[in-house]
Symmetry: D3
């Protein structure tokens, strides 16, 4: 276990909490190498960078995954992560509504559906 | 000219500055109706909402347009808009780098190219 | 309830029928604001425009949602809407087959699957 | 030259006119096989089908290519094709405006830019 | 039943095995014409071409469907097809991991999930 | 300069040749950090993995970038890379033709255009 992996794992826990751990555990059984890269590159290399706060990073990720519309499971993980690092439900709703402008109404409706599922588990 | 259009135009000027005005002027000559909707819905309805600051809204938009990779001209407008509402060049670079994780390296490289063109005009 | 909202609601009922109402009801419980925008902008502003018939508008929407492939629930709503405003099942099949050319076979196969589900509910 | 190829070539000329011929000529010099498939499958197999008129087929194609946003050269060919088979400029503008709803404002703005370029060549 | 259709059906069986047959059977009940095109164009025209081996063709298809992320059912068919024509599970894992670079981590994670489901049925 | 960076740089040179170096040089002047990640993650971590040959890796990348259609500059780099690691022009043409099936004809036509530009520089 390298330093880079260790640092990634700590960031993953801080940001994604239990959900992140579950994603990695599920991935370990399919592809340990992809699990390792998912910890190392995004979480040790990128999220650890000081130039942008975690709250702002989750705004960017929630926006991007809502807009592309091809990563519903990952969008849910990051809506939860957004709540973990200090975004309010109202702010997440706001980001998703804004995506009507850049990716159309279906993308925003499907993003809001993901938010509904995450929010209902946190009440 | 309705109140909604008027409010949209003011927000457009505040956010996009001269660039936004040019986009609308160019659009007027092709489709005055699309020009009007572009002012009314995004700028009067969405960007005017109080739940999220303009700086945060531009983080979301820059992330989304970098990730989808099909809106290079609009990405440039919003990188400029990001600078206008308080994002630093380093923060915009940070958002684009983060998109390697969610949309791959080509999307981020093309986003960074857009940033380079905007930044070089503002020096 | 503004005139714009009222006009949107009437268009939504005319086009999407019961299905549209259900979509909006489901959305009300998650994000009343997104529900309102979904009624106002697409249905009061756009579908109400006189330049293109509803039958032609649904051809455009079914084609677009089949091609992008990221909005399966909305595609089903609009296949039903297509039937409501006068498209035949054979015409909808035709639009989806044509999308093999512009978005590939998987997009058309998934669009046809959506059509099958809608058609089986209308027999 | 098979019957299928011959039929495709005739349909291509009827729909796309000179522009279509130029596309195929350009393609011949790169990949004669892709040129042949482009004539045979879309134009002999699909556009020849009787279930939908050419005007309606071009509505579908213009909508799909505007929404996906990755085929600007082909979108221009089909905006021209739309004019050839009876769509008015105002109807094409209408289809593109409608795409704001399903693919966002940047997709529609870029589609309208393509329309502007085609329309300015036909005045 | 034309020669082209017959040749396509044989290639489909060779490449996709039982799974391919099921896809076509399911499709027959919805759209016999789309079923026919799906056999004729991809399998009689394209996969029959001598310039690239079936193993290499499946590398291309698995990569493309993982990257676009909008064709999960078809990706599973082609992961099975990859195994049928000689790719190992480790090689398929490798292709999917590589897609982190070109389409981001969520696309690769969802592709790996598809591989897991196919692999677990073949043990 | 870490070992990982050094290894990535060597792989980049082996695969992309001069073109790769130019991409990185251009990137250095915009974002040295993104340049570093582009060398380290794709080229030191992924392309260095033993499970798949470079020729097969380029098949995967050319297929994916043709299909997504949002990375024309990177597609050109990888068509050149494909030639560098042993793919013939005919094989690259074959991969792109196959993408008509999975991403539609416009994606393949635009991919073939990229190939034409690369091939004409190597004659």
């Amino acid at each position: 276990m390298t330093d880079r992996f260790q640092r990634g794992l700590e960031n993953l826990k801080k940001i994604d909490g239990e959900t992140g751990q579950k994603v990695i555990d599920g991935l370990q059984s399919i592809s340990p190498d992809l699990a390792r890269y998912t910890i190392e590159y995004p979480f040790a290399d990128i999220y650890a960078r000081p130039g942008l706060g975690l709250r702002e990073r989750e705004i960017a990720t929630i926006a991007a995954l809502t807009a592309t519309g091809t990563a519903q499971p990952q969008l849910k993980v990051h809506i939860q992560a957004g709540l973990n690092v200090g975004l309010t439900k109202a702010e997440i709703e706001e980001i998703i509504i804004q995506m009507t402008v850049y990716a159309g109404f279906p993308a925003a409706l499907n993003g809001m559906q993901a938010a509904k599922e995450v929010f209902s588990n946190t009440e």
